[in-house]
Amino acid sequence: MAVITNTFTTQAPPKGNREELSDVVSRITPEDTPIYSMISKESAKSIFPEWEVDTLAAPAANAQLEGDQYTFAAIAPVTRMGNYTQIMRKDWVVSNTQEAVDNAGDAEKIKEVRAKRGVEIRKDTELAIVSNTASVGGATRILGGLPSWLTTNVSRGATGANGGYNTGTKLTVAATNGTQRAFTKTLLDATMQAAYTAGANVKYVVGSPYIKSVFVTFMSDTNVAAFRMAATPDGKRTIVATADYYDGPFGRVAFVPNRVMANSAGVARNVLLLDDDILSMKTLRKIQDDKNVTTNADSRAGVIIGEHTLKVSNEAGLGVIADVFGLTAST
């Protein structure tokens, strides 16, 4: 094969060929934030919203002497708990020339950049919720992430230790990681039993996508009812290898895969047992544009900013199976 000498090809290169650039910009980065989306939103009035947690006395034998004189037991005060608000911010600056030029798909225009930053700040919030992060007061406040609150209905690997809320410091303490192990139905059942005994009504099991892939294998357990699907008359068959709910000995829970929990092995190692009635986001400043941002330059800048915290009304209503392999069979 040969090309005739002086054939003018696209490799010359020609000066006048038009470039082709699609106006459709592909972005498959997931935008879902399951926990942040499922829990209620409340307003906050301070940088350290507090709430009270009360408990009932354990059941005890109760038989009294006839004609007995009354005695009066001391009333245990409620426990005050709180979480510091965290300021979250996303920003951008775009030159006025860049904003004026014809941009394929407009992906690098202010409107689109602003929309992306809005999604990103929600994902940052979700990450803060699922991270085992101790709360911090002061100027750069950090909200205590959900794993740092959980102490009652907890399963940990060897050498793991609880964190929890310290009423003395008014801060949460991060849990200490233990030796990782595989996520199993036994672990789920045992932690759900602990939660049920403590009075919790777990509705959701939230874990990384890998944890979901392990969860669906529970259907192969000998103690699980066989999963059958009627064949359709058109002769088409489906391999069914998924499940979204688990009807366990202690209630029915929905499994919610959380892509933000695949962010790192540090967050993927926890499987959270949640009741959305017990969690809420308390908002001191709504996530919104700061209208007063100016650049004093030939450009336009923007800032999305908000300040909020996670309210864990009663950690005993929740649970965690910690120290599991959350990204792969060995990580």
Binding site: T151, V154, S155, R156, G157, A158, T159, G160, A161, N162, G163, G164, V173, T176, G178, T179, R181, A190
Partner: protein, 57 residues
């Protein structure tokens, strides 16, 4: 001859601890742990020394 037995130190747990999977030791309980493990937990603020004071033994 080297002594293969790990040295154990008594610590009082300030937070619940799992010396082994599914083996919960609640906050307030005293357990004996290998020295390095005990030191790590004390350094992390999760436990405090529970060995006798001089003259207590």
């Amino acid at each position: 001859m080297a002594n293969d037995k790990p040295r154990l130190a008594p610590v009082k747990m300030l937070y619940a601890y799992w010396p082994a999977e599914d083996e919960r030791v609640n906050a307030g309980e005293i357990i004996e742990l290998p020295l390095e493990q005990a030191k790590a937990l004390i350094a992390a603020g999760k436990a405090e020394r529970a060995d006798p004071m001089p003259g207590e033994e």
